[in-house]
Assembly symmetry: C2
Homo-oligomer: 363 residues x 2
């Protein structure tokens, strides 16, 4: 169930300061309009629905007879990412991917994004180039057009806000609220890897701070990629369409499996049961969790940032999906009165709780 790797493994290097570019051009030398022109000159619109991109008061989109889905996510330096070890190119890529993941979770196809960034003068033009390189790589990979946005100054940290727009026929859109009693609960790929990647990076950062030693990341390629360069499950949406399966409800796993399963249950007015032994965890995630004295199941339930798709299907559709290595049945929906439960390997029942990432509790 492991996803494909990039063509070449990620190269992660810890940096005392993220602005150690070899050449440095001040943003003030370009100015805001100069920067926008620089970004715009590298954008090639690829969708026929993108009538007008960067360069006017607003972008213009032709819905082509479909409905639109719209989603926004903001990433803040020091909260969502640490430029001590996150390469700006990966950050740009990830900022787009987390939004596209929301579009796929509606069973829609992303078509356009806008990107607003606030950044301080400590970032040179070269850093902005690197960030947009990642943004554009994601655009190319997912067939999405960068059609607008905003660039502005920030007193300190970097903030990126991406809005993604997708399209779908009204009848194809899948909400969180459509699950039925007895529907099967499935998840794509595997869980907990991004969280364990973060743990490794944080550990190596602490070592680097103390000793200045570059990190030993051998053998952690998979979980580092899960954290630093996640992908949105475009392939799963395509696969389900090919198999002739329309999920009854769907959500993407950003805050952790437990939190998302509770969303599906609550929004559908149901209960849910998840089986510990069914949970897909990659061996490298499992081993790293053990090395950190963490319970792999807890990491999978509450780690978050997996950007997998969690969805329900009617039991009648089971035959269509059962042999697929990208999909795992991890439980089923129940009536509301039965509650939201985790079934452990001994058959014991535990109330499912969302202990996932919470923006305001974490700090």
């Amino acid at each position: 169930m492991r996803r494909r790797f990039s063509e070449r493994p990620l190269k992660v290097e810890l940096r005392g300061r993220m602005t150690e570019q070899t050449s440095r051009t001040e943003l003030s030398a370009l100015g805001e309009f100069g920067l926008i022109d620089r970004i715009a000159s590298r954008v090639q619109l690829q969708n026929a629905s993108s009538i007008k991109g960067i360069g006017d008061d607003a972008a213009v989109i032709d819905p082509q007879g479909l409905h639109h889905v719209v989603t926004t996510d903001m990433l803040v330096e020091g909260v969502h990412f640490d430029l001590g070890y996150v390469p700006l190119k990966h950050l740009g890529y990830k900022a787009v991917v987390v939004n596209l993941s929301d579009v796929y979770a509606m069973n829609a196809t992303p078509k356009q994004i806008t990107v607003a960034i606030a950044l301080s003068n400590r970032f040179p033009v070269e850093a902005v180039d690197e960030l947009y390189e990642g943004i554009q790589l994601a655009c190319t990979h997912y067939g999405v057009d960068l059609v607008g946005g905003d660039t502005c100054s920030s007193p300190s940290g970097l903030v990126i806000s991406v809005t993604a727009i997708g399209s779908a026929a009204m009848e194809d859109i899948v909400y969180r609220s459509g699950a039925k009693d007895n529907d099967l609960l499935l998840v794509s790929g595997d869980l907990g890897g991004a969280y364990m990647g973060l743990q490794v990076l944080e550990r190596e950062k602490a070592v680097f701070k103390e000793t200045g030693a570059q990190p030993d990341l051998v053998g952690h390629d998979y979980i580092l990629e899960r954290q630093l360069k996640p992908e949105a499950r475009k392939d799963i949406v395509g696969l389900l369409r090919t198999l002739g399966v329309k999920p009854t409800s769907m959500i993407d796993v950003s805050d952790g499996l437990a939190s998302e399963a509770l969303h599906l249950a609550h929004n559908s007015g149901l209960g849910v049961r998840i089986y510990d032994e069914k949970m897909p965890i990659d061996p490298s995630t499992y081993q790293t969790a053990r090395d950190f004295n963490l319970d792999p199941t807890t990491c999978a339930l509450n780690g978050g940032e997996d950007y997998e798709l969690l969805f329900t299907i009617a039991q009648a559709d089971y035959e269509k999906i059962k042999a697929n290595p990208s999909l795992t049945v991890i439980g089923h929906m129940t009536d509301k009165a039965s509650g939201c439960l985790l079934v452990d390997k001994q058959g014991g029942l535990h109330e499912l709780r969302a202990q996932g990432w919470d923006a305001f509790l974490r700090k």
Copy 2:
């Protein structure tokens, strides 16, 4: 040409710290999902095109056979606003309005917005309530639905990113690039007021810092409102439609008249001529500029944040608009070789330069 006032004048009070609310509930007591529920519970969708609002992975919009326009603007504390004197309610209102202004500048009707905010723990829940009160006031006033967004933590300042989505028939959309040689150049309302309002607020802030004295803002109601609670020119778009005039090009005045006129000229491949004596400046803007030893024309040309509409019309349409007190003809387009010029009151010619606000030069 002065716009209507609010029902009651603005009350501006300087604050040493913006967080001096009478009651204080910590954000951590609500958590991210609690905060989203709190916001969502106050939202009433008003547009039939808003199929699904807050509460799923993405909002769903029915284009109803029209094209969509999309625009994003980000406001950053310490760069775009100073919470020492900007009430949070006004800030929320303004964050929406600056985006709607871009939608109107496309000759489209705004229908939905998403709002992403990053805020630190120094903000209590009451402060967030105040901010969203302003956002919702703008939504109600402009007939727009808040359909989604993101709330997250910030290490220090407040950041607001708004994306506005509007709709229009393809043939009604007006770009910056459609002006023709000899077209008349018009602007709505008056210019320079928001900039002078900012000067007054900055002056009074300096006095407050030194002496603790609350500001003397008597007689500055109009320019303060222009700065703190601007409106987008929905009425002008409606008026032009009623008059049967479709602008050949249009832009909103956010960075200053000079900057925007240059955009229209460059994007249309033309030159432009603006007449100093024609520029609409409110008497209170004029007088305050004089009191500050500033040239009122310079304030109007480069002040920015007026959120008026600057547009061109064919000469043949002049009869339809000439008697209207909300519109002023301030110049005309020329061929490109004639350049972009300001004609002073003595008939002298000066090259038009954009000295407007530049995010990266200002700091």
